[in-house]
Subunit: 221 residues, 2 copies
């Protein structure tokens, strides 16, 4: 069994949705505390990355560090607090309090044969996805965005966390100095293999206010 540490990243301000959901209460406990606890399924220790100036609470983590301007920066700061002799690092979003022990176990197990640098849990894409010629947020002011192609859904996955990495590969990937929406993208960029294990539909990411109410429902069920 490798030495595993987890980095839980709660760096986001959640500005678009009226405040960070990771500090909201879910079933009477902070979302971030649930995310930290979930990592204990596989992690010997948990580093929690909090936005700078957050409350002094450690939410049950072993180490707390201050986040950076981007998600990638925040994970990088958490990674810097992981001892050199740790073999596997699991990265998890604080806004995913309902990740199961099975998901954590699966991403770590996918690294066991030493032939992959990372593993992510993911769901098959169920929506129709299309590539467009400009960011959809631009709206119709500069003309409508136009479809470039429909993405092959049968070969596309919707990625969640937890994501597990060979520690040395993740460190190398972060030294690229790039920014990405997940750590696996950086690991892909250094040429390492990233495996995909089945995610869980209940492992939702709390982004909108409605998500929190939905999570309460899932917790009750």
């Amino acid at each position: 069994v490798p030495v595993v540490w987890a980095v839980v990243v709660a760096g986001g301000s959640g500005a678009r949705y009226g405040g960070p959901k990771q500090f909201a209460l879910l079933g009477g406990r902070a979302v971030v505390a649930r995310a930290v606890e979930a990592c204990r399924a596989v992690a010997d220790a948990v580093v929690l990355v909090l936005p700078e100036g957050s409350a002094a609470d450690d939410f049950g983590a072993d180490t707390v560090v201050a986040g950076g301007p981007t998600r990638t920066d925040s994970v990088g700061r958490g990674l810097a607090a992981v001892p050199e002799d740790v073999e596997v690092v699991v990265v998890h979003d604080a806004a995913r309090p309902l990740a199961t022990a099975a998901s954590f176990a699966a991403v770590v197990a996918a690294l066991a044969d030493g032939r992959a640098g990372g593993a992510v849990c993911a769901l098959p894409a169920v929506d129709t996805l299309k590539r467009v010629d400009r960011a959809p947020e631009t709206g119709v002011e500069g003309g409508w965005p136009v479809v470039v192609e429909t993405i092959d859904r049968s070969r596309t996955v919707v990625v969640q966390t937890p994501q597990a990495f060979v520690a040395e590969v993740l460190r190398r990937a972060h030294r690229l100095g790039r920014s990405a929406t997940d750590d696996a993208a950086l690991v892909e960029a250094v040429g390492a293999t990233v495996r995909v294990v089945p995610g869980d539909v209940r492992n939702l990411k709390l982004t909108t206010p409605a998500d929190l109410a939905y999570a309460e429902q899932l917790l009750d069920a």
Copy 2:
């Protein structure tokens, strides 16, 4: 104002999730009846495509036809019931009962200058999406699926219905005889321009049992 007909497609059996959600009750009314009603925002008449052998109920539609083996077949059968002189056809999923009048108006308006063959409503992609080397449903039996690339999320949209089409272009697209997860993909395949208008986060597609409970919540809010 063009003559607009809607085709509401309820062809799916919903086998994966324990029965078709389109016939469930939402706020005391059948989901499909709500989807038909929503089309009235723009449609002069509504053709409803039901799975063969369904109840004789018309759910408020003007015409009911029997669906085919695939979604594309079902839309095609609905389209065959639309008179030749109709200028714009709006296609809508029966499992999307909460589509707003604004979404219907937006997709029809996007065709008004005559320079596009279709328009879809869509949301910016918020999840990290990755292309994989094999269907994720295959699981780990033939080895783990492996990531091929992380998709550029900033240029990707998650497509909803309603989708509006120049009737003649949609008919031509369906004559290709291909199957696709949405009608816009067929229209793209005949080389017509498909525009993207802003979708609505509340316009969810009811696929899992949990979605229905969530939709009840949205309806109450």
